[in-house]
C-alpha cells in the first residue's frame, strides 16, 4: 500500500512516497533540492518557507524518484499540525486537492507522531510499546508509545525547546548558524565539568523540561566573565552546557523507562543528530539493558517520509479524515 505524504509545517516543503509504512520510495525535501536535484530555474533563498512556490515541483520529483504515477497512490497523508498555520495550509490545501481529484482517502497526521515514526523506517524490527524522546528545534517531548497509533505524552518543555537552547547559546558564543552542530563539535574538545551550569529538574517526579533558565545562566556567566575581563574558553562553555542538557534529558528519560518498565527507547527529531547525546544515551542504554533506536540522520530533521509512516499506521488502524480537515497550530498528541 502506497501513500503520498506531504509535510509543510515549518521551514521545509517535503513530499514522499512510502510503502507499507516502512519503505521509502522517495523523499524530497526543499532545502536539499539545490544540491541533489536539477531544479527548473533558480530557487530563491526565501523559498525555504515559501512552500507554495515549490510544492508542485517537489511533487513531480517525488513521483519521478519513486518511479510511479499519481494513480498508483492509495491514500494521501498530510501534516495537520502542530506548526505554523500559514505553512500548514499550503500542504493541507494541496493534499485535499489531490485527495479529491484522485478520489482517494485523506489522512491528517500529527507532526510529532511523524518524528517518532521515522524510527519505523530506519528500524524495521521496532514495534510498540516503547518510550520516545522527541528533541528538535521546536519540540521537546517524552512520549509513551503504547501502540502504532496510540501515544501518551508524559513530559514536554514549559519554555524553550532543546534545539532552540543550543542555537541561542551558540549565538551568545558568537558561533555561526546553525549553532547546534557547532556546540557539539566544540564539546568534543571542551571540559564538560569546567563550569557547573544549573540542571533544572522542576518538581520532584516531573517529566516536564525547562531550558530557558539554563540559557540565561550561560548568558549571565558570559557577561560576568566579560565584566571581569577574564578569558572565556568557549569549548568549555559549550561542553558544560551540552552536559547540563544531557544530564536532564537522560535523568528523565531513563527514570521514565524504569517506571514504565519499558525496555525500548526511540529518540527522534533534529537534535538526535547530536553526538554527545547519542554517545551518552548509547552508554546508559547498554548499562540498563535498554534497546536504543535513533533514525538515520536525514530522517531526524523535518521530512515527509516520517509523515507517510505515521499516516500509514493511522490508516490501517481505521482513521480517515474528511475534506473538512482543518490545520491546527497547537495540535496535541
Amino acid at each position: 500500500m502506497k501513500t503520498l505524504a506531504i509535510e509543510t509545517s515549518c521551514d521545509e516543503t517535503s513530499i514522499a512516497v512510502i510503502e507499507d509504512g516502512r519503505k521509502i520510495l522517495s523523499n524530497i525535501i526543499s532545502t536539499q533540492i539545490e544540491t541533489h536535484k536539477k531544479f527548473g530555474g533558480v530557487v530563491p533563498e526565501i523559498a525555504s518557507r515559501m512552500h507554495v512556490e515549490v510544492i508542485s515541483q517537489i511533487l513531480k520529483n517525488a513521483l519521478e524518484d519513486a518511479n510511479i504515477g499519481l494513480n498508483d497512490i492509495d491514500f494521501i497523508s498530510v501534516t495537520e499540525g502542530p506548526g505554523l498555520v500559514g505553512a500548514l495550509l499550503v500542504g493541507m490545501s494541496f493534499a485535499k486537492a489531490l485527495s479529491y481529484s484522485l478520489d482517494i482517502p485523506l489522512i491528517g497526521v500529527n507532526h510529532i507522531k511523524g518524528h517518532i515514526c521515522a524510527n519505523y523506517i530506519s528500524h524495521k524490527n521496532l514495534e510498540p510499546p516503547f518510550i520516545a524522546l522527541v528533541i528538535s528545534g521546536g519540540h521537546t517531548y517524552l512520549v509513551d508509545v503504547t501502540g502504532y497509533d496510540e501515544y501518551k505524552v508524559i513530559g514536554r518543555t514549559r519554555d524553550d525547546a532543546v534545539g532552540e537552547a543550543f542555537d541561542k547559546v551558540a549565538r551568545a558564543l558568537g558561533l555561526p548558524y546553525p549553532g547546534g552542530p557547532m556546540i557539539d563539535k566544540l564539546s568534543k574538545v571542551g571540559n564538560p565539568e569546567a563550569i557547573n551550569f544549573p540542571r533544572v529538574y522542576l518538581e520532584v517526579n516531573s517529566y516536564d523540561f525547562s531550558f530557558s533558565g539554563l540559557k540565561t545562566a550561560i548568558l549571565n556567566y558570559l557577561n560576568q566573565m566579560k565584566q571581569k575581563n577574564e578569558t572565556i574558553t568557549i569549548e568549555d562553555v559549550a561542553a558544560s552546557f551540552q552536559m547540563a542538557v544531557i544530564d536532564v534529558l537522560s535523568e528523565k528519560t531513563f527514570r521514565l523507562l524504569n517506571e514504565t518498565k519499558r525496555n525500548k527507547l526511540a529518540i527522534a527529531g533534529g537534535v538526535a543528530a547530536n553526538s554527545g547525546i547519542r554517545d551518552i544515551f548509547t552508554k546508559k542504554a547498554l548499562e540498563k539493558g535498554i534497546e536504543l533506536f535513533i533514525p538515520d540522520m536525514n530522517l531526524c530533521t523535518d521530512n515527509a517520509a516520517m509523515i507517510g509512516s505515521a499516516g500509514y499506521y493511522s490508516y490501517i488502524s481505521g482513521k480517515k479524515s474528511t475534506l473538512g480537515l482543518k490545520v491546527d497550530a497547537n495540535l496535541s498528541l
Binding site: 505554523l84 498555520v85 514536554r156 540559557k215 497547537n330
Partner: protein, 150 residues
C-alpha cells in the same frame, strides 16, 4: 516611561497586570537582548489573559496561538529573514484579528507593524534586575501604560 524591575516576581506581576488590561486587537511589541525575559514576560501576560496552557518559546515555530480570555498570538521574529517573509506568513491577518498579539524581536520588522501599538524595551541591568521602557503609539496605548503603572 521607564521603570526598574528588581526580580522575577516583579516581572511576573507586571506581565499579569498587563495581560489583565489587554483588549482585542491590542499589539504589544517586546524588544531586548537574548535572555532579557521576553518569553518569561509573555508567559505572565498569558496568565493575565487567563491562558491555561504552558506558553513556550515561538522561536522555531514563529507564531504560537493560545486560547484565553482572548486569543493570544505569540510571535518571535528572531529567525525571520525580513519583513516580506513575515507578511507572507499572514501576519497582517493576526494584527487586525480579534485577539491580542505579542511580538518578540519586533524591532526587526518595524515597517509592517500596526502604527498603533505598545513598544516595550527590556534591558538587562544585572542577573535579576531589568529596565522596562514603554513607548506607546496612539491614545489607546498611552492610556494602557498609565493604567499599568498606576
Amino acid at each position: 516611561m521607564i521603570i526598574e524591575i528588581k526580580n522575577l516576581e516583579e516581572l511576573e506581576k507586571l506581565g499579569i497586570k498587563l495581560g489583565s488590561l489587554l483588549e482585542k486587537k491590542d499589539v504589544i511589541c517586546l524588544n531586548g537582548d537574548l535572555g532579557a525575559g521576553k518569553t518569561t514576560f509573555t508567559q505572565a501576560i498569558g496568565k493575565g489573559l487567563e491562558v491555561i496552557e504552558y506558553i513556550t518559546s515561538p522561536t522555531f515555530t514563529i507564531i504560537n496561538e493560545y486560547e484565553g480570555r482572548l486569543p493570544l498570538y505569540h510571535f518571535d521574529i528572531y529567525r525571520l529573514g525580513d519583513e516580506e517573509e513575515l507578511d507572507l506568513l499572514g501576519a497582517q491577518d493576526y494584527f487586525y484579528s480579534d485577539g491580542v498579539c505579542v511580538i518578540e524581536w519586533a524591532n526587526n520588522v518595524e515597517n509592517i507593524l500596526p502604527k498603533e501599538r505598545l513598544d516595550i524595551w527590556i534591558k538587562i541591568i544585572d542577573e535579576n534586575r531589568r529596565q522596562f521602557k514603554f513607548i506607546p503609539h496612539g491614545d489607546r496605548y498611552v492610556k494602557l501604560v498609565e493604567e499599568l503603572l498606576k
